[in-house]
């Protein structure tokens, strides 16, 4: 009799365990995607840089674009593949601690932290301490400012997707392709406009779609899908300081001691 009761108790315990586990799983799923107090998806967190399985791999640790996505060039668009000149100040500007720019810097192999509130999304990338302040309050692009390496972003929500449009770039390298082919750049023009579409795919994956619209180079805009992996295990470590000038020992290939 006692044994029978024990069996029933064990069975009841196991069943209640399953019920509790299922309820916990449902509760977790019902919280997906995480949301801010104003009801928008909460993108805040620390992530690995955007990655993809598609296309050519960079001979470096960064992500580069898939050439199969490129539409035909417009006349003059061949300038995209600007050749190297032999002058390190032209060929390796980063070697002198000049910025990677966007989108190249975003695809660099470092951690990036997103901080979000109602009015701004801040992207704080470890590489070169790249910081993008993206207004979400509906303001238009700034007018009358000089083109820049990182451009002028503004964001808005389309359902649960954050859409960030960036304009007003200066001509610069689109990605780290020049690591893979040391004879050529991929140089975007000053007409570049980028669109980022960011949304939660699942609790462990952020979708990051990047559209490149460069009407001086390409006959059409084109896009590539990337994913970003949240790393709560990096929260304690955080984002590290990155001051390129601190110990840049070999600018232009001239090492010193």
């Amino acid at each position: 009799m006692i044994m029978k009761i024990s069996k029933y108790a064990a069975l009841a315990g196991a069943l209640s365990g399953i019920v509790f586990a299922s309820a916990a799983l449902l509760a977790q799923q019902s919280k997906f995607p995480p949301r801010t107090p104003d009801g928008k998806p909460d993108l805040s967190g620390i992530y690995q840089w955007p990655k993809t399985d598609e296309g050519e791999k960079c001979k470096c640790s960064a992500t580069i674009f898939d050439r199969n996505k490129f539409p035909p060039f417009k006349p003059g668009g061949e300038a995209f593949y600007e050749p190297r000149t032999g002058d390190p100040r032209h060929d390796e500007p980063r070697d002198f601690c000049l910025p990677a720019g966007f989108p190249s810097g975003m695809l660099s192999a470092n951690a990036v932290r997103f901080i979000q509130n109602k009015n701004f999304l801040v992207m704080a990338h470890e590489f070169q301490a790249m910081t993008r302040l993206i207004p979400l309050d509906g303001r238009p692009h700034r007018k009358g400012i000089e083109p820049s390496f990182y451009g002028d972003p503004v964001g808005h929500w389309e359902g649960d997707t954050l859409v960030v449009e960036t304009t007003n770039f200066k001509r610069w390298s689109l990605d780290d392709y020049f690591y893979t082919n040391p004879k050529e750049y991929r140089m975007h023009s000053d007409a570049l406009r980028t669109i980022e579409r960011i949304s939660w795919k699942d609790p462990k994956t952020l979708s990051y779609k990047l559209t490149i619209d460069d009407p001086k180079i390409f006959t059409a805009a084109w896009s590539q899908d990337f994913t970003m992996t949240p790393h709560p295990d990096w929260e304690q470590m955080g984002i590290f300081e990155y001051v390129c000038e601190e110990n840049n020992r070999c600018p232009g290939g001239k090492c010193g001691k």
């Binding site: 070697d95 601690c97 470092n110 590489f127 690591y179 590290f240 990155y242």
Partner: protein, 133 residues
């Protein structure tokens, strides 16, 4: 005991893949056709951006000591892989696999560091590439 640990020397190893860097392209500063492997005693470690540097006194067969400098990944990249500044300390004897600097100096990229007990750490930026693989 491996004789290389008793008499640290510089010698060339065969075609190994460059340990690639993040802040600039490898080809800007290093010669992928000149892999090197040196063994010596660490004299200094600079755990700074854009790349860590560590310096090693290398004694040749005649007994002449040359101080070599090697660069690795950015501190943040290494620490995220669990490699912190304590991994290489002055006074340690290490073997470094890397590539010579283009300028002919006693500098190089230092992608892999091996300790006398056989343990090794990958000190370059790329997470998935090891010298020689």
């Amino acid at each position: 005991m491996n004789v290389r640990w008793l008499f640290p020397v510089l010698f060339i190893v065969f075609a190994a893949a460059p340990a690639l860097l993040a802040h600039h392209s490898f080809s800007a500063e290093y010669d992928a056709t000149k892999p090197i492997q040196v063994t010596g005693v660490v004299t200094k470690v600079e755990w700074q951006n854009p790349h860590i540097w560590f310096f090693v006194d290398v004694k040749d067969e005649s007994g002449k000591v040359t101080n070599w400098g090697f660069s690795g990944g950015a501190p943040g990249q290494l620490m995220r892989r669990g490699i912190n500044k304590d991994v290489i300390q002055p006074g340690m004897t290490i073997m470094v696999d890397g590539f010579l600097a283009k300028d002919g100096s006693h500098n190089g990229s230092g992608g892999k560091v091996t300790f006398p007990d056989g343990r090794s750490v990958f000190t370059a930026s790329a997470e998935d590439k090891l010298p020689g693989k």
